[in-house]
């Protein structure tokens, strides 16, 4: 009876932190005493009982086995309810679901992270993973674009990354304000100046659909192979296990076959981006 695919396990909210006006970081701990193992890029179905369930990507490092960190933007019923939770509240989770980034294939390669807006949330898990295993990878470049300075996420962590000599990081905002001293303009502008070794580079791209279109053009100019461009897609999901049909893109299910896809795979799917 207890192996219903819809049955969540209970997790406790350990801490919450307001990152921006729209985003909150919450840290969970599952009640059952066991390690929570996952691959960077996997997601969970998060339940607020009485409100519903929503797919949320895991934002914390897979090396942190004790807690699960999620960066949640307030956009719907479930995420608004999550924003109201305080430490000590209980929620339900199912997962980890999906496959995650192909970390084994990426070993020995240079990595180019391209995060647009909330796309930094799943990429942060992968970035923390590769920083922990820094020697397994060649050059690491992080590009991050936000709409305006107020929407930049994980600012403290970005400062730490900036200080590291073994990674390059570049940040831009679409609409700077008076206090912004960094770069402005769309994220695609950060790509042309990069010195990349195309066949030895993986581009890990997560952002809104409109960003994918233009970033892909730039990456093609840089001659990054289509198999080496990995994108993570967002869809609404009701089951997370390949049944409900909501996340289906042509013949593939984002929950079962993704949420990460290579451009080589996506370019044949007309409904993808």
């Amino acid at each position: 009876m207890n192996n219903s695919i819809f049955l969540p396990e209970i997790a406790e909210v350990i801490s919450t932190r307001q990152l921006t006006a729209m985003e909150k970081y919450i840290e969970l701990k599952i009640k059952e005493t066991r390690e929570f193992n996952f691959n960077p890029g996997q997601f969970i179905q998060l339940s607020v009982f009485g409100i519903g369930e929503a797919p949320i990507s895991i934002s914390s490092s897979p090396f942190n086995k004790d807690t699960i960190g999620l960066c949640v933007r307030k956009v719907g019923d479930v995420t608004s309810a999550i924003h109201k939770l305080e430490a000590g509240s209980y929620i339900g989770i199912r997962g980890p679901l999906g496959n995650g980034f192909p970390v084994e294939k990426m070993k020995g390669k240079s990595l180019l992270f391209i995060a647009g807006g909330l796309g930094i949330a799943p990429l942060r898990s992968l970035i923390n993973y590769v920083l922990e295993r820094r020697d397994d990878f060649a050059k690491i470049t992080i590009l991050y674009g936000a709409k305006n300075p107020g929407e930049i996420l994980f600012t403290n962590e970005l400062e730490l990354w900036k200080k590291r000599k073994d990674i390059a990081i570049d940040i831009t905002v679409d609409k700077p304000d008076d206090n912004w001293s960094g770069k402005s303009g769309v994220i695609t502008r950060l790509i042309p100046p990069l010195d990349l070794e195309p066949t030895n580079t993986y581009a890990l791209v997560v952002g809104p659909p409109v960003m994918y279109k233009y970033v892909l053009l730039e990456l093609q100019i840089k001659q990054i192979p289509e198999d080496n461009i990995i994108m993570s897609l967002e869809r609404r999901m009701k089951c997370g296990v390949g049944k409900c049909g909501h996340c289906q893109i042509n013949g593939v299910y984002v929950c079962m076959d993704g949420p990460e896809f290579s451009y080589h795979k996506l370019k044949f799917l007309s409904e993808a981006i």
């Binding site: 695919i5 719907g76 869809r235 409900c244």
Partner: protein, 349 residues
């Protein structure tokens, strides 16, 4: 068990006997020309001539609404899965609907087993009734290989006039026949008569789709930009009726319902429809299938390409319910044939 004959005067008793141990669902005429599966009170059912029921019998395995979890949030969350099932018999199921159920079996057991379905399925006995004549103008079962059915039922009955020639497929089927039915062994003449009828029917069922069904995935792979979707875009109302009446549609929505105390409640699922406007909307508001044409294209691809490629079987079973129920007369056979024709025309160019 060898094939048997159940004489028609005993069918009523058989059905009534079954009711003692099972909930029995059979076919009833709801109003002139419209049939439904419903719980049988007394056996007087139009097994012979019924047109496909308004809704297929999948509703007894995958109900329109179903509770998945029951939860209490106070003082500490207590969540229990809810899987409801009981011993049930589906009586008088046609080959197309048996195919429909077999396809759902694949869906709900592959990758992650869906116990809410499989537990109901395990407690279900299917008594089929074979078709000797096309049931109505929209049927195209023969075109999609669903007239003949070799699996997915426990008992299959064929109308010989005064009796039903009955083949028993499973041990469960044998058990209920022995326990609840009056029957006689079928003799050589009965078998010959049965085979002759089966043989004669072959010519009566027209192959309406203008290619072998196995070619359809390829035709649909090449039809993403087919003009037929533009034409249907202007006709389709996006009402979702074709999804709701389909024996192989299984998309669903999940939602929570709180009790009045606001501390306990249920998580439920409900049939959803990929032709509805909001089906592929994401949290940020983008709709990845924003037009009716795109959504119909998706639905047709699920039947004849995506799922067909994955499971190597047509996910249209040819019952014609979608055509019958479409308020603007979008015809599944016409649409498939238009895709085939346009493909061939493009090849000729």
């Amino acid at each position: 068990m060898n094939d048997i004959l159940i004489f028609k005067e005993y069918i009523g008793t058989f059905c009534n006997n079954l009711k003692e141990a099972f909930t029995v669902y059979g076919v009833k005429q709801k109003e002139e020309g419209f049939y439904v599966f419903d719980e049988i009170d007394e056996f007087s059912d139009p097994l012979k001539d019924y047109k496909p029921t308004i809704l297929p019998p999948k509703k007894y395995l995958f109900p329109q609404q179903e509770t998945l979890l029951r939860f209490d949030t106070q003082p500490y969350p207590d969540i229990k899965p809810v899987i409801e099932s009981w011993k049930q018999i589906l009586f008088g199921v046609r080959p197309c609907d048996i195919h429909g159920i077999s396809l759902l079996d694949k869906i709900f057991t592959t990758d992650h087993e869906d116990k809410n379905y499989t537990q109901k399925r395990a407690e279900t006995i299917i008594i089929g009734i074979d078709c000797l004549e096309p049931c109505y103008e929209h049927a195209h079962c023969a075109s999609v290989g669903c007239l003949n059915v070799d699996d997915g039922y426990d008992i299959m009955m064929t109308d010989l006039g005064d009796s039903f020639y009955t083949s028993v497929k499973t041990l469960q089927g044998e058990e209920i026949i022995r326990k609840y039915s009056e029957y006689t062994e079928a003799c050589k003449e009965d078998r010959e008569r049965f085979l002759r009828l089966k043989n004669e029917r072959e010519n009566k069922f027209e192959n309406k789709i203008k290619t072998d069904v196995s070619n359809l995935p390829l035709f649909f792979k090449n039809a993403d930009n087919d003009p037929v979707w533009d034409e249907l875009n202007d006709r389709c109302l996006g009402c979702g009726r074709c999804n709701i009446v389909c024996p192989t549609c299984y998309c669903f929505d999940v939602y929570d319902c709180m009790d009045l105390n606001m501390t306990s409640g249920e998580r439920c699922r409900e049939w959803d429809a990929c032709t509805l406007k909001d089906f592929a909307v994401v949290a940020t508001g983008e709709n990845f299938r924003s037009t009716r044409g795109q959504r119909l294209r998706h639905r047709f691809n699920r039947k004849f390409n995506y799922l067909m490629t994955k499971y190597n079987a047509s996910f249209c079973v040819g019952c014609g319910r979608c055509t019958r129920s479409c308020p603007v007369n979008i015809d599944v056979v016409e649409t498939v044939n238009a895709v085939i024709k346009n493909n061939r025309n493009r090849e000729d160019e």
